[in-house]
Amino acid sequence: MTRRRWGLHLAVAMVAAGGTVSAQPAPEAARREGTVVRVDGDLLVVDLGRDSGLVEGERVPVLRPITVRHPITGQSLRDRFPLGTLQVYNVGGALSVLRRTEALLRPPAVGDRVVSPNAPEPREPARPTSAVAMATPGATPRPARPTQQPTTPPPIAATWEQAPAQSAAPTAAAAPGVDAEERAVLTVFLSTLGQRPADRVARWTAYLREHRESPWAERVRAELASLLHFAAEPPPRPVAPPLPTARGALATSLRLGDPARVALQVAGAPVLGGRISARRPGAERYVTVTLVRDGDGFVRGEVPQSLVTLEGFEYFVELDTEGGTAVSVVGTAESPRSVLVEPGPGDAPDPRGRTRIDLRADFADVGSRTIGSRYVAQRFVLVEGDFLQRLDSRVLYGYRVGFGVYSGEGLPLSQLAGDLAAQPSTVVYGYHELEFSPSGFVHVIARVQVGVHRGGLVGGAQARLRIGEERRTNLVLGGDVLTEVGQKAFFALNFQPHPAVPMLAQGEVFNQSIASGDPMFRVVAQVGWRATRWLTLAARGSYQLRNIQNGGFGAGLSTTFDW
């Protein structure tokens, strides 16, 4: 191997490494060149810091490493070719972020190289030491020439050794002592360095057309096959124009009364303005409010309070690009974001319509009359009051507390003809009721009651079935039992021939109070007048009898407060 030939190879290596070929760049070069260490969409992170001279906003070349084979020595050398340029987005102490803003020849990848054009020049021209090592005979022996050995090193090597590779375009044709075939293949080889794979393929294909019998043709074909494989990679994805993005959104839930303000910081592309569109859930049309630009790239706006109701609302945000395109950055018209609106913490459930108080008093005569020479009183008084709370629960419709006094006097039928005086009887009682609503139309009411009678405490229960809504037409069927007092069964029809005139028709049979076991039948008719929305006054009349000879009329008043 001659000194001259090695000089040529070294020069080739220097060209490849002098700004283009380097397995281990020198420290000075490390600040000038960086490696892509991460790719995140159109953003790339490179290991170049501020000392590399990168300036935010400038464009820098990005290079793709490629391995090529020297056509004469067969050495593998690392070259690279340009993919395009990137924009410096952010420069840090050790890392910087670049952004792809234009189409690249190929998608960027980790390992791609980036060259800072502003890096301080090294004190001495950088020598690719590793390339030297690679080309040193002891490190990589030169393979034998396939057909003939050159006797003198090509003079081009001397030239290349003294000049930076990028500052002097090497020309193998100028090298004396190199035969024509070597010169031709080296000329083409050098011309491919730093070129795109497709250009390399074109040049090597042209070379082979003209040098089919060259002793280096086989190696060139092998290199060409490798390049064809490399060039066959899919074309790069075109980069869409950058679109704006936004950070921030409305809270996913608000309380009634909270302002529905949105503030976004816009990034990615310049915008002219924006708007927020909101609607009630499921509504067809959106209400649109223009966003106001604010501070360092923010847009702000507020959804009208008329939409901030317990129904919640839906919204999306659009920004207008400089190109006139409206870009949805939060939600879309077809798929808006939802915001739940909850009652304020102090908002107890609406108490309206929950309370009803019924007060009623009845006097009923059951046939008081003079029998023989004595007057026999047969009558009773019933006073009741109850308090209903509608609980607005799905199953439990209401809770009711009530008090009552039932006071009567009379005699059993079997003793009317005797000379006994009428016997008084009084029961004072109270009760609690639960009203269940298995359906909206049928309610079941259960009562537990306790009272005081002659011997002390008495207890009992009542059950009612109501068919129809409470405040509309309904039919009530029920039964009642109170120990030591008696039983009662009843039905009642509540109806409203006019909204202001509620009416009641009721029938009941019972053996409580004066009957002392004698059953009594009673019919009641009541007509009411809804004086105000919350007050109803009613008068009632009744007829009750224990048998056809012992009956009488009754009357009563009723007041209902409902709010």
Binding site: A94, A251, R255, G344, Y399, V428, G430, G455
Partner: protein, 361 residues
């Protein structure tokens, strides 16, 4: 270190540069900030910033105030892992929002409004944690009051039953058997609105006459009691509370102890049903069922039924039918009145009247 730097670089990349058409010139200091929409109450609010051209920035200042407050407070950003942060102190659960705006103070002495302004601040909605939310709801519904001081009195008459043949209450008691007493009481209650909803101490003083069963048979006796009751109210579920009561005191005989339990259903709703049972040795038992509601503005109402063998551990239980009504006078003062009817048997009954005054803070 490299990983941290990479994360920082990527986070800076994600915090994309403001890009409005009128964005400031490239050399003007700007911030990168994702405005908060909501934050947890009772926790510090952490605002994070990126700053561009930091070399020209003296301070990043956040001016903030609890929502609705008048005065602005100032917090200065500090360095945090390469970014900048401001920790706004945790707000009480009653604060529903925090307003803030951001100003850059530059090294040349000028200031730059970077986000929002005093006239148009950005509002962060504060949302409490679930337990705090319940506390907030109950506290708000109770008008922010936690401490209650209540004092009251009541006169109860079960009527004077005829002492037929001296058999009902002893030959020496006269023609009738009196059964009446008065009570005076005071209570201090503090509401936590947490799992332990409230605690209370109540002191009762009772004096009266009733029929007591003695070795000689039923006799009219002067009865009395001075007792203190401690109670703890637990929240079982949102609308259900359980009260546990312990009583110690002395009646006309000796020291007595007692206890009780009460279940409230509907706590926080317009109507509450209370079912209770309480007993004191040698004094008697009481079972009660009340419904209290406040569906008319500032007007608490209630109706209840009580069965009791108090105050003389009476052999004959009595029935009390009671109704309450009250009025809130402002936020702190409530006046309550109670009327009722009570009887142990049909031939004797009487009325009850009483009232209470409550101061709440």
């Amino acid at each position: 270190m490299r990983t941290a730097a990479l994360c920082l670089a990527l986070s800076l990349a994600a915090a994309a540069r403001p890009a409005l058409a009128q964005s400031p010139a490239a050399d003007v200091p700007t911030i990168e900030h994702a405005p908060l929409a909501a934050a947890n109450a009772r926790e510090p609010i952490v605002l994070r910033f990126g700053v561009r051209h930091l070399e020209r920035v003296a301070r990043l200042v956040v001016r903030w105030r609890p929502g609705g407050a008048a005065a602005w407070r100032t917090s200065v950003a500090v360095r945090d892992s390469g970014a900048w942060r401001v920790d706004l102190p945790a707000q009480p659960i009653t604060a529903r929002a925090v307003d803030y705006y951001v100003v850059l103070e530059l090294v040349d002495g000028s200031t730059r409004a970077s986000f929002a302004s005093a006239e148009s601040p950005h509002r962060v909605v504060l949302r409490p944690e679930e337990s705090d939310e319940r506390e907030l709801i109950e506290l708000t519904r109770n008008r922010g009051r936690r401490l209650e001081l209540t004092g009251g009195g009541e006169y109860t008459d079960f009527g004077s039953a005829p002492n037929e043949g001296g058999a009902r209450c002893g030959a020496a008691s006269g023609a009738r058997c009196p059964d009446h007493w008065y009570t005076l009481w005071g209570e201090v209650r503090y509401r936590f609105y947490r799992r332990v909803r409230s605690v209370a101490v109540r002191v009762d003083r009772l004096d009266g006459q009733t029929t007591r069963t003695t070795f000689e048979g039923p006799r009219t006796r002067d009865v009395g009691l001075v007792a203190a009751t401690a109670s703890v109210e637990f929240r079982l579920v949102d609308i259900v509370s359980l009260h546990l009561l312990g009583t110690i005191g002395a009646n006309e005989e000796t020291v007595q102890v007692g206890g009780g339990v009460r279940l409230d259903v509907g706590t926080g709703l317009p109507a509450v049903v209370s079912l209770g049972f309480q007993g004191i040795t040698s004094y008697g038992l009481t079972a009660s069922a009340w419904m209290r509601w406040e569906t008319a503005r500032d007007t608490p109402l209630g109706a209840g039924i009580e069965l009791t063998s108090q105050p003389g551990a009476n052999a004959q239980w009595g029935l009390r039918l009671l109704a309450e009504g009250g009025r809130h006078f402002g936020r702190h003062l409530t006046v309550l009145a109670r009327v009722g009817y009570g009887a142990r048997q049909q031939d004797a009954g009487g009325f009850t009247g009483g009232g209470a005054v409550r101061l709440a803070f």
